[in-house]
């Protein structure tokens, strides 16, 4: 892969991490604010809980995409480890195969994530009264990046150290 593409990918990767972390900051602040406001002036603005929930979902899905690049997702690597010892080549083939299966899952989730988003456009959220398609938009966005990272692993063997 040429260096320009690598720089862009690394930038995207850093950006996604930063946004996920920012979502966690927002989530924490809102939850603490909820406690304070309940004791401070008795009532909690309706949108607090909802916004915090959306922040968590965005954080989780963006982090899940980044996790593809880091190969950090929880898995049982008993068989791959065993293969590494007896047939390292078979292990590499297995890993590529697993990445291809992951990629297929991600592409399906992009396609139907868009469908889900469109379907939710007619629904409004309880708190902020916004169309539910806004929060749902993270589904295709995240799995788009997950696909890019999976593809990089397949074609360029791109695994972060």
């Amino acid at each position: 892969m040429n260096s320009m593409a690598r720089i862009i990918i690394d930038l995207v990767d850093k950006g996604l991490r930063a946004i996920a972390a920012l979502c966690l900051v927002i989530l924490t602040v809102l939850v603490v604010f909820q406690v304070i406001s309940r004791y401070g002036w008795g009532s909690v603005p309706l949108m607090t809980e909802e916004t915090a929930r959306y922040a968590m979902i965005w954080m989780a899905l963006l982090a899940a995409a980044v996790g593809v690049r880091d190969a950090a997702h929880i898995r049982i690597d008993f068989v791959p480890t065993l293969l590494e010892a007896v047939a390292p080549k078979a292990r590499r083939i297995l890993e590529v195969l697993l990445d291809v299966i992951s990629l297929t899952v991600f592409l399906t989730l992009i396609w139907f994530g868009v469908d889900t988003m469109m379907f939710a456009a007619g629904q409004t959220s309880d708190g902020m009264q916004i169309p539910l398609s806004y929060p749902y938009s993270i589904l295709p966005i995240s799995f788009f990046f997950a696909s890019v990272f999976a593809l990089l692993r397949i074609v360029a063997g791109d695994v972060r150290p």
Partner: protein, 310 residues
């Protein structure tokens, strides 16, 4: 054909025959009179009510026990019927739902959401306030922290001088026990379901909001059936709803008795006391509804229909 129904509660959930029993009645009627099968999936195994409602719209499942609040997320006008003190009695509510107003609303729901409303069932009857003190007048609500969900419940409660906190249903008991909140509003059946008698000393039969549910079925599925089968389904729905309403009345009376036996002080309100709550809660709700429903003119129509049905 198979009709898959997603339900919230486990099979044999005590005190909730008016929901599960309604669908069980529907199942036995349909299966006795046609070769269709009805598959009841209990205990929220297919997801939360809103999610099952979506699955039903998409035709992945054919029916679900999603109720008023869930339908409100896809059909905002339906919330008008949750207006505090719209109906003086359950019987008035049934008359409005079964009359021209209910029929027109059902048709509108079908057009806008793809769900055919076969009838309107009662979700345990009216909701009542509970707390650890007697609530006889609106003034008694001042300063209480109430667990209510959604703006249409929150705004009238705040108008009464209470504060509102949205607490997940799973944490309701603990939150009341530990005092995160002081009170809540639910039907008596729900009150008993999560043993609130252990954490609430007083239940006031304020009857401020009527809880109901549209008995919905995916319209495309229904439209694809021949006329004979459609009739079987409609007849089964009528029987199921008749069962539901009778059962719901019977169970609420039993539930109030049970709460009393468990040491809860029940306070009944007379007409004047209810009017005092209505005069504060209803205008607050109407103010919010006017800005948040698609057809504000329906607000006055609903009030008129309820008046006429009295």
């Amino acid at each position: 054909q198979e009709i898959k129904v997603g339900l919230s509660l486990p099979q044999n959930a005590t005190g909730f025959d008016f929901v599960n029993g309604m669908y069980e009645t529907f199942k036995s009627e349909v299966e006795a009179n046609s070769d269709m099968t009805v598959d009841l999936v209990y205990a929220g195994a297919l997801g939360a009510p809103n999610e099952r409602l979506n699955q039903m719209r998409r035709g992945v499942i054919q029916m679900s026990d999603a109720a008023d609040g869930n339908y409100a997320t896809i059909h905002r006008d339906i919330q008008i019927l949750n207006m505090p003190y719209l109906f003086p009695t359950e019987q008035t509510a049934w008359a409005v739902f079964d009359g021209p107003f209910g029929q027109a609303l059902a048709e509108d729901v079908r057009e806008k959401t793809g769900i055919r409303v076969l009838g309107w069932w009662e979700s345990g009857g009216f909701k009542h306030f509970s707390a650890n003190k007697a609530i006889g007048t609106p003034g008694d609500m001042a300063g209480l922290k109430m667990r209510v969900l959604g703006p249409l419940a929150t705004i009238p409660v705040e108008a009464l001088g209470a504060s509102a906190a949205p607490i997940a249903f799973g944490e309701l008991y603990t939150s009341l026990k530990t005092g995160v909140v002081d009170g809540q509003d639910n039907s008596v059946s729900v009150f008993n379901l999560v043993k609130l008698h252990e954490v609430q000393s007083n239940l006031t039969l304020t009857g401020h909001t009527y809880a109901f549910g549209p008995l919905g079925i995916n319209d495309r599925f229904f439209g694809g059936l021949d006329e004979a089968k459609q009739k079987v389904i409609m007849d089964a729905a009528d029987k199921a709803i008749a069962f539901n309403r009778a059962k719901s009345r019977e169970m609420e009376a039993g539930a109030i008795e049970l709460a009393k036996q468990n040491g809860v002080t029940i306070t009944e309100l007379d007409g004047d006391a209810k009017a005092a709550f209505r005069d504060i809660m209803q205008p607050a709700a109407i103010g919010w509804l006017k800005d948040n429903v698609d057809t504000p003119s329906l607000i006055d129509e609903a009030i008129a229909a309820a008046k006429a049905a009295e």
